[in-house]
């Protein structure tokens, strides 16, 4: 089976979240990947994905209409509180709702991707696009319609970086923040908290990573996303721990977020 899922229509921007990454950070290309890595993991778990499976996954910002291709398949749509499982017969259509309480909804497709249909870390998903993939596995061993997801609680954990100084760190962890409406895969700005003025900029751009929190010259903070730059000239306040990044990247516009110091894993630094 080479064509397992067709996108019939998208109610907003949508994209593949997996694919070959022909370039690397040595050429300025960010790692890409899902806006909500934890959702991808939960979708795979709900599908009982075999070990080492390469998931075929989509993130979408509006209603998504899809159709199964030449074989039946399983879909796991990941919502903030639950994973909804769908079984499609060959050729059957499904209309999936858009995200609720999040910026994007994740959709994991129960098939091993023999050759993912993207040309970079991620790629837009136009109507009419086919997901080309290997044979689908048999689906969950114990199918349920909805599998609850425990919602992470508490502040988002950040490992400090001393570039921007103690005042910027205090502003970050003491402030009450909300996610700005204008956010994309490159970064999410924070609004509502105190501004950390005086952090300045570095003479030469230095390496940055997804999850890095930059202090801009006007005192605002920006959390870099999975498609963010690999070099940046603004000082870093800290870097969000990997497990918590999706909570910021996929937060609905206006959602409140708080930050606290978190430790690095053993053996690091």
């Amino acid at each position: 089976v080479s064509r397992v899922l067709q996108v019939l229509s998208c109610g907003g921007p949508a994209w593949w979240v997996q694919g070959p990454a022909p370039f690397a950070a040595t050429r300025g290309h960010p790692p890409g990947g899902p806006l909500d890595p934890a959702a991808l993991a939960d979708g795979l778990a709900a599908l009982d994905a075999p070990p080492g499976a390469r998931p075929l996954a989509v993130e979408h910002t509006g209603v998504l209409e899809v159709a199964a291709g030449e074989a039946p398949l399983w879909l796991a749509q990941v919502e903030p509180d639950a994973v909804a499982l769908w079984r499609l017969r060959a050729g059957e259509r499904l209309r999936l709702p858009g995200p609720t309480g999040a910026r994007v909804a994740g959709l994991v497709i129960g098939a091993d991707a023999a050759h993912a249909p993207t040309a970079g870390p991620w790629a837009p998903l136009p109507p009419g696009a086919w997901a080309a993939a290997g044979p689908p596995w048999s689906g969950p061993r114990a199918p349920k319609d909805r599998i609850p997801r425990p919602r992470p609680r508490g502040p988002v954990r950040v490992l400090p970086v001393a570039d921007a100084g103690p005042d910027a760190w205090s502003a970050l962890v003491d402030g009450q923040w909300a996610v700005a409406p204008a956010a994309d895969r490159r970064g999410v700005a924070l609004v509502g908290g105190p501004r950390a003025l005086g952090a300045g900029s570095t003479a030469r751009s230095r390496p940055v990573v997804p999850g890095a929190i930059q202090a801009l010259p006007d005192g605002r903070f920006v959390v870099l996303g999975p498609d963010g730059p690999t070099l940046g000239g603004y000082p870093l306040v800290g870097v969000v721990l990997a497990a918590d990044r999706g909570r910021v990247w996929n937060a609905a516009p206006g959602a409140e977020v708080a930050f606290a110091g978190g430790g690095a894993r053993e053996g690091h630094g």
């Binding site: 040595t26 300025g28 230095r206 390496p207 940055v208």
Partner: protein
């Protein structure tokens, strides 16, 4: 001898701040050495720091420092020479020429005297920081960044030059145009000869 300082970037990456100036050739070799370390998914460099991303559990920083201790400039892959056709007709060319005390044609001629070196790659995918500028010259960033710089614009920022691979906001002084993807295959340490040319 001062050692590089390792700064964890979260729980899956490490920045290595270099204690002093380094050549692009050394950083090219250093990135190769970092990428070859067990457990490293990706490695790259700025001009004053290196970085790596761990594929799994982070390794001790001492292993990173030890790997860099043996790096010699020139031990990495050989540098490649590229040619970059630039049409010197950017909106900021007159201002740069005036600041440099010459005419616009002389600015273009200055860039043909010696190749530029790829000092770092980042900011945008494929954006190569080229330097140093001819004769140690520089061009300050514009006080107000443009909301949109078109792909292919050839600009100057401080003592660096570069070609914007895609449209984006930008504060560099735009002095010309080139093909947007002209530098997509360069690596840190490569040489880039500028060739003034008319581009429709």
């Amino acid at each position: 001898v001062a050692e590089p300082i390792c700064v964890p970037l979260g729980d899956d990456a490490l920045r290595v701040d270099l204690p002093g100036p380094s050549s692009a050739a050394w950083r090219r070799a250093a990135v190769e050495a970092l990428a070859a370390l067990p457990g490293v998914a990706d490695a790259w460099s700025g001009e004053t720091s290196l970085a790596l991303r761990w594929a799994g559990a982070p390794r001790p920083a001492a292993e990173v420092q030890a790997a860099l201790a043996g790096v010699q400039a020139g031990s990495g892959p050989p540098a490649v020479t590229h040619r970059l056709a630039v049409c010197f007709d950017g909106p900021d060319l007159p201002a740069v020429a005036e600041a440099w005390g010459c005419g616009p044609e002389a600015v273009a001629a200055l860039f043909t005297a010696a190749p530029l070196t790829v000092m770092a790659i980042g900011f945008q995918p494929g954006f190569a920081y080229l330097g140093p500028l001819p004769g140690g010259r520089s061009a300050p960033r514009r006080p107000q960044p443009r909301p949109r710089v078109p792909a292919g614009a050839f600009g100057l920022g401080g003592d660096r030059a570069g070609v914007y691979p895609g449209d984006c906001p930008g504060g560099w002084q735009l002095i010309g145009r080139a093909a947007p993807g002209a530098l997509s295959s360069v690596a840190v340490g490569d040489a880039v000869w500028i060739e003034p040319r008319d581009i429709p």
